[in-house]
Symmetry: C2
Subunit: 321 residues, 2 copies
């Protein structure tokens, strides 16, 4: 898919001076523990606190003037919602976000603070897809889904492109996997600029649909899995991301909830980084030896948006080690 | 005091490849709130999680072989203890730390994990100074106090030296003040390499001894002030730091506990940085408008060692705004 790699390079040019060039952090202690040189690509320092800004900005910026004038719509109660809201504000495109009524007030407020219109729905009464279809017919807005969209995938792939420039010669790269937008973009970018580097997607054991899909080559789904890593509670890989994952990703591995908790603790106490559970999956995989490590290992820290109550629960959990 | 500046430059050479060159972070949101370009020098990413490593390593590395063989002693239950313990390990110098019996178990464990010997005492029965004198006479160790020592001050000054190289043209620099080691080193370095830049020391209102001392030119002391910023609970400036603060610091300002809490919250939620309350004093001063801001403002984030319970209390406090 040379085509997707071209899209990633184009996205990278579009994002210049709009997205943060996020820093790479290292830890002598962590390197000693896992016996490798590990580099953390800190997308928790990206705008809106997560890599999602890359895909959202890339997608909206390519709409026609007419589409921009009609606005964009998405459904998300997570980082993609804030990303669409901010990208919409920067590109002067009105954004509407469908969120479940029971979404945390803080997430709704953050999304509204960027100027988005939030429409809530009762998940008991309707689905977000049904509501989205109704709104799209009514208002002729453009839907920008959270991951199953070529321009979104291309935007997410720019993080890995940047990472390989910052740290040449990685032999292993770990990325978290929810709907597969970040993972497939990461894999396409990596296979084009650093073909010697293996790409492994990491999922929670409790939400292992993509791992099952990867191993069986048949799409598996999960329904609202009870993992603490809320960014990976997506039902399945998508029509665009599943084939990309099958073709470009080298392996998938899962990690326990205990390992995720330990990873967030380590990142907080030892590296002074605020990382949400989904963002800590790669570190969890290394700490729990779910993957055989390489010499130079890259880990994408995907985001840092975590509620105080979740952080409290994690910091007060006994260590897994 | 060209002499102290020379010591800072020498310390900087000694710390090369030993201390981390800590990154500078920025936030578009914060800049909008305070109406300035603000640069955060993130010493929470320093080894042991605080600037204290700089002074400890600089001091121990200058001991004679005989002194090194006899070992070093200090008293601290905070970041200086861990700094001496790690610097001692790296320089193969045995370290002994006097800590109150009631110091948090996690701090004692962290200090011991670097190979230091911890001796505890009952603050009801004796003082750390009395115990230190007894141990020094018995074992002929060298005392490295937490701040009132030229080589410690010189080491702490290297953070500002590095900061001015990373961000030229600052017109205001804010540093927290406990015993004045960081603040005086910062001020000496700044007046030598960026004389146009004002240096303001920030203290909690509840521990405003240095501010009073600065204004009256007479040494004031406080006893165990009840501020959440535990790094500033020192009783007073020292014999070495007080004259340096008087000569080189432009002003001192205080911030409320509410402003400190708001600053730690902002750093956590918006900048994804784990910062201890003492480390957030400069941000608190800007948010609460305790200082008139400049155009290009530097803030030294001094450390990130915070107990989970303290972070929980802070994240669950109502915002001051």
């Amino acid at each position: 898919m040379a085509d997707m790699f071209t899209k990633i390079k184009q996205a990278s040019a579009r994002l210049r001076r709009q997205a943060n060039v996020t820093p790479v952090h290292t830890s002598r202690t962590f390197n000693e523990i896992v016996g490798a040189e590990v580099y953390l690509k800190c997308e928790n320092f990206q705008r809106v606190g997560a890599f999602k800004f890359r895909g959202a900005f890339n997608a909206i910026s390519q709409l026609s003037d007419e589409q921009k004038a009609r606005g964009v719509l998405t459904y998300s109660s997570g980082n993609h919602a804030q990303a669409i809201a901010l990208a919409g504000r920067l590109l002067e495109v009105k954004s509407t976000i469908i969120m479940p009524k029971n979404a945390p007030a803080i997430k709704r407020a953050a999304t509204e603070s960027y100027g988005a219109t939030v429409i809530d729905y009762d998940p008991q009464e309707t689905t977000r897809e049904t509501l989205a279809q109704a709104l799209l017919q009514e208002n002729a807005m453009t839907l920008i889904p959270p991951y199953d969209h070529e321009d979104v995938v291309a935007g997410q792939g720019t993080a890995a492109l940047e990472f390989h420039e910052q740290v040449p010669g990685l032999d292993l790269l770990l990325a978290p996997c929810g709907g597969g937008g970040l993972l497939s973009g990461t894999a396409v970018a990596t296979k084009n600029v650093a073909p010697q580097c293996k790409v492994i997607g990491i999922e929670p054991e409790l939400a292992d649909d993509a791992t099952k899909s990867f191993r069986t080559k048949t799409l598996h789904t999960v329904h609202n899995p009870p993992t603490i890593a809320d960014g990976t509670r997506t039902p399945s890989l998508g029509k665009i991301t599943f084939p990309l994952v099958l073709e470009y990703v080298d392996d998938m591995q899962t990690v326990s909830e205990a390992a995720i908790i330990e990873a967030v603790q380590f990142l907080f106490y030892r590296m002074k980084l605020v990382v949400e559970p989904s963002g800590a999956l790669g570190i969890a995989a290394l700490l729990s030896q779910a993957v055989r490590t390489g010499k130079r290992v890259g880990v994408i820290i995907s985001g840092g948006n975590i509620a105080s109550q979740t952080m409290h629960t994690i910091l007060n959990s006994p260590s897994a080690r």
